[in-house]
Symmetry: C2
Subunit: 306 residues, 2 copies
């Protein structure tokens, strides 16, 4: 049995690409591939699974001894625990090349596209395998989620092609209307503690000797984001020592006007932000045009730290 | 301008996949892709280039500041110097996932096949681009070289399909007869010093805190190999401190009976060999059925060292 799993603190791509790629591999080989997850579902993904009548993938928090295919990540710090003791069979990803290593040659396919679900699409296409409607709906949702409905600078023509092909099979008639509905479901920040909000979509990275965490919260509601900037700034400073990192960053992204507010805590984070981005005021930065953590935030932070 | 380059101490795959993939990228995009090499040609590759009327790729020993596509490697220790300061655009490889990292998402395609030239073949096929005869001859040679004319356990059906498709365009009528001719040209050990023989095909690896080098010499001549085992064993012990590694291994591979003699030097190498392989006598090991450094020697050595 082979597990297909995304990263910790899974987003919609990590969950839906695991479902879609496991289904593809089963269809291709007739063997047992099981979609899995390395953490709890976020509200957006819950909405997506419910909408298309899909079960949540099996939770595997520890990968030791398991045969696994990684989707949507290739960094040890983002993977299920003990990934070094797992047998990694394949990797599908759309992030920078990280620190996962293997002892033997494997299938590793990374592409600079907006979403792993787009790479999954290529596998269906190259092997002439038809998608099933439910998985296609999930995979379409993953692309809309990762590309902010085609608005992110990470979005490519191939992402759009894939999303439209999936939407057709899934019966999604108006892609933008569906995306809006999905983002609204995903943006249910009300009733959540600051800690829950921080960990909704949070990833750890290492650059040189520095370990840092970067969270992202997206919303289409400007007022909600303004209030959140204050609450979360206080929370990051109060709770800093709990998070086990040298620096912590949180992006508050307004999807509609395509900008982000960057708040942060930790010794030296201020200088790093000043070095990485041009505009900056005390403890807070407004980043116009910045919506992609992967493409617009991690590279300058990594550069500034190394 | 983008360079396409294989590893240091280049073998036929590193040179010919650079030539073939640069030509593919030019045909696909109309932009300038330049085949490059990170070291001197070995006699086998010289034979291949002469046979198909191809120039040697441009030598780039230092990659700093250059835009590069890596073929046939993804380990920093094997790449052209200062690869960390290069801008890596893409990676095509058939080895284990190593330690090359990037700051941004890139195209990385690794597959557990016998040769990088087979992955190059997929790119031509997926994009409906026809090969040119000279490049096809070089790419076919790379597959025959890496798979020992389909005899290596690394060889897959896809390698065979690719080699046959290339051979047809290149006008190679009898693949096995051509392979024999190529191996004979590559096996020109006469007139070479032990040092030259060691560095004909030598790669460095790191496992835990140990740096080790593994060379491989292949021949179809049993007598030549027997004599070489003695000469090279003496040489490894005399010259050990010159090579800048903690342990050094040399595989003397008999292509025809598909076996290798493993000789080695360095403190602890004896125990590592005993742990990694079952049979072993003082300073020397006969490994029946072992012809692939990548698939049959590096994994057990890495395992034994970690």
């Amino acid at each position: 049995m082979i597990y297909v799993t995304g990263h910790k603190n899974p987003d919609t791509d990590s969950i839906c690409s695991a479902i879609g790629y496991a289904e593809f591999k089963k269809a291709l080989t007739g063997e047992e591939y099981v979609p899995a997850r390395a953490g709890n579902l976020n509200p957006e993904t819950e909405f997506v699974l419910k909408r298309f009548g899909l079960d949540a993938p099996e939770l595997i928090s520890n990968a030791a001894g398991k045969d696994v295919i990684l989707v949507d990540h290739n960094e040890v710090a983002q993977a299920a625990d003990d990934i070094e003791s797992a047998h990694i069979i394949e990797i599908l990803d759309h992030h920078k090349i990280g620190d996962v290593q293997t002892k033997e040659p494997i299938y590793f396919r990374a592409m600079p596209v907006g979403c792993t679900a787009t790479i999954v699409y290529l596998h269906y296409k190259e092997n002439n395998i038809e998608f099933k409607p439910a998985a296609a709906g999930a995979l379409c949702s993953a692309i809309l989620s990762d590309t902010l409905a085609f608005r992110s600078p990470t979005c490519t023509d191939l992402d759009r092609e894939a999303a439209e092909a999936y939407a057709k099979v899934a019966g999604i008639e108006d892609i933008q209307a569906y995306a809006k509905e999905m983002f609204k479901a995903g943006s249910e920040l009300a009733g959540k503690s600051p800690k829950e909000i921080l960990y909704m979509d949070f990833k750890k990275f290492t650059a040189g000797n520095t370990t840092y965490g970067v969270g992202q919260v997206t919303s289409m509601d400007e007022d909600e984001l303004k209030e959140l900037a204050k609450t979360m700034n206080d929370y990051l400073h109060e709770s800093f020592s709990e998070h086990g990192v040298d620096m912590i960053f949180l992006l508050l992204t307004n999807i509609l006007d395509e900008s982000s507010e960057l708040i942060y805590a930790g010794e030296g984070a201020d200088e790093v932000v000043k070095k990485a981005f041009t505009s900056s005021e005390a403890d807070r930065t407004y980043l116009k045009g910045v919506v992609s953590r992967k493409k617009q935030v991690i590279p300058p932070l990594t550069e500034a730290l190394s």
